[in-house]
């Protein structure tokens, strides 16, 4: 009877670029059986967190190409904390220098996937987090 689906919000924040990467991730997750709430381009951290809360997602995945990762990730973590929603996991992908990754993880980002990473890494990561 219980039909617990893992729900994941995918967004491409920032004003730059396209959402091809985010769409690829969305399709990969759908094919792995997840419910993906796809919110598209140009989201502010505030919009992302508000949508995540209304949609009651388990995790947020964002794609960042702009170099604004140093702001976007910590800001989302902060907003989640403010709204008592720190149980929502944040992961991300995009063009993020290796040197910046430890700092982001320290700030509370669960995982970062850089462009070279195979898509299976993302599904494996989620599977390990949500093994039922």
């Amino acid at each position: 009877m219980a039909d617990k689906k893992i729900r994941i919000l995918i967004a491409k924040p920032g004003l730059d670029g396209h959402d091809r990467g985010a769409k690829v991730i969305a399709r990969t997750l759908r094919d792995a059986g997840y419910e993906v709430i796809y919110t598209g381009l140009r989201q502010s951290p505030e919009q992302i967190v508000a949508a995540a809360i209304s949609e009651d997602v388990n995790a947020i995945g964002i794609s960042v190409l702009s170099g604004a990762h140093g702001y976007l990730f910590p800001r989302i973590i902060e907003l989640l904390k403010e709204q008592n929603a720190s149980d929502i996991l944040l992961f991300g992908g995009g063009i993020i220098p290796d040197d910046d990754i430890p700092g982001l993880k320290e700030a509370g980002v669960a995982e970062i996937f850089t462009p070279g990473a195979p898509l299976a890494d993302i599904t494996n990561f989620l599977r390990s987090r949500y093994a039922s």
Binding site: M1, K4, K5, A26, R30, A32, Y38, T39, E55, Q83
Partner: protein, 323 residues
Amino acid sequence: MPHNTVDFQELLVRGQSGDKRAIGRMISHIETYGLTENLIMRQLWAHTGHAVIVGITGAPGAGKSTLTDKMVKYWISKGYRVGVIAVDPSSPFTGGAILGDRVRMNDLALIKEVYIRSMSTRGQLGGLSLACSGAVSILDACGYDIVLIETVGVGQSEVAIMNVADLVLVITVPGLGDEIQAIKAGVLEIGDVFAVNKKDLPGADRTSRELQMMLDMNPNMGERQPPVLMVSAEKNDGVGDLCDSIMENYGCMKESDELLTRRNRRLREELLAYMQDRVYRRVLAPVIEADSFDDNINGFLSHSRNPYAWAEEIVSQIEEKIK
């Protein structure tokens, strides 16, 4: 089964004070466990019955989400609180889904008076319309004046979901060929208001005239004369008139008892489904799962006893008891 330790009453109180996290939790709960766990509907009932429930259906790409965004903005400007349930199909193979309607509604995310929830069909249509009607009840109980349900108009499932609505807006667009292929059989009959979207594109007038003609000629329409309006969701043109027309229609339905008739039919169906589930779990399943059933089954399988005679006997006993 991982049982629900959720305090639904507490979530409801939080939801009624505008806590969207609590609303999100309640909807997830009914999606996961159904409506009958925790006597949820019983707790909600006293708080429901106020919202105007509007279904929006039409072909993929017709502009339902874009229009929803604009309609919500219009109603918010009039002081209403609006809830949106956007339903998309899930993959029959993996059960996964991409729910993308929010892409057109991003401006709404931060508005306090709006709640938006994306739902997937999760493979089972009957289950979906129950979950959908549960979500509507939750939004109604949390004080949303209008609840919009967006769903793709392609089959039986949508007709079932539309049964959850008080009234249905059907959307079509120009440029789909000589006949209005977007309007499938059966969809004409469920529409209370029709909109030709993308009136900024060529052919909208003609589509509108053709649609009007199809409605006039349809023998199943009876006395009803549903309005046909032209809008452009993208250019935000005609949306206010459409919203007003929906509310006017709702007002007429209320006065003419049509609303009552529809809610009557809906409640009967919902109660029947609810009771089936409760009786199944509380009365029937225990009979089949009881130790004594093992004794019976050997007799059945060796054909020394008739299982159907036994089943009739059990049902008669139950019937006797509730007389």
